[in-house]
Symmetry: C2
Subunit: 173 residues, 2 copies
């Protein structure tokens, strides 16, 4: 059952905001080199907006990608690879119709974030995460980090975006 | 032709992020009381993220709502009405499939911002804009403010959201 859930989450993630593959655990000090981050980075909800995205199909998600200062500077300057210290966040929600808005518009057209599904992070540390393109991955659901088994799918997926330093999301301008 | 364009933009706006009706011109000093803002607020792209939205149908848009510090504080504290000084921005784009992402996922499911369509603002000044619920409205396309005739539709639409201080967008959490 857990495996099924993880699989769904993985697909949702990959579909979701298509920002990261997935993440897992970073035993700060322990299991050195595991490209998983298990602490939610401080203040991410105050970071600047990179882009929004919608995933159709079973996922049916909407969300936003936010970046810390290092991420935003690199994005704006088109600098690749992203520098160490970069953290990119992807916040995902179920996409739901806004009945309130649709009433005003007189037709069903407005879709907004519903229940939160997960929050993901990519953390750049080219030494610590050298084996995964310099990125550590994180995935939280209800505030809890995903397990290592789940996180293993992150890098193989992001590896396909090697040309943009393993990051799928573009800066919206 | 211009009228047709404006009409489309209005519909797009109302559909778009459903954040504001529409905006137009604020002859700072002139035409006092006109609830139209014709200058793009400084630094809005650095503001914090309030929410994302997708409009289906002809508009087919995706975007984000951002808020300045006053807006974010009020949103987070659930304070209504928004205080003077609040500015809310809505940035809209055509929603387009991401062929790059879909190739990775093996199916057409990923939608991202394409060409920018318009940027809108709501500026709170309960004295200056007393006649329109305390809000001045702005709408920019290619960096240019919409004309007054276009802006007239903003408030009548936002008036329907009187219960949330004329603001449609909710804070995503």
């Amino acid at each position: 059952m857990r495996i099924v859930t993880f699989f769904l989450v993985t697909v949702a993630t990959m579909a979701g905001l298509v920002t990261f593959g997935t993440p897992a655990q970073d035993q700060a000090g322990g299991q050195s080199g595991a490209p998983y981050v298990i602490e939610i980075p401080d203040g991410y909800r105050d970071w600047r907006w990179v882009s929004s995205a919608h995933e159709a199909g079973n996922l049916n998600s909407i969300g936003a990608v936010l970046g810390n200062d290092a991420a935003i500077s690199a994005y704006r300057e088109g600098k690749l690879p992203f520098p160490d210290g970069t953290i990119i966040a992807a916040v995902h929600f179920r996409i739901v119709p806004s009945e309130e808005n649709n009433k005003v518009f007189g037709q069903a057209q407005s879709f907004v974030p519903g229940a939160p599904t997960n929050i993901q992070f990519m953390v750049k540390d080219s030494t610590k995460y050298a084996a995964t393109g310099g990125w550590g991955f994180a995935h939280f659901q209800d505030g809890k980090p995903a397990e290592a088994a789940f996180m293993k799918s992150c890098f193989p997926c992001h590896e396909k975006a090697k040309g943009s330093d393993y990051v799928f999301t573009r800066y919206a301008r």
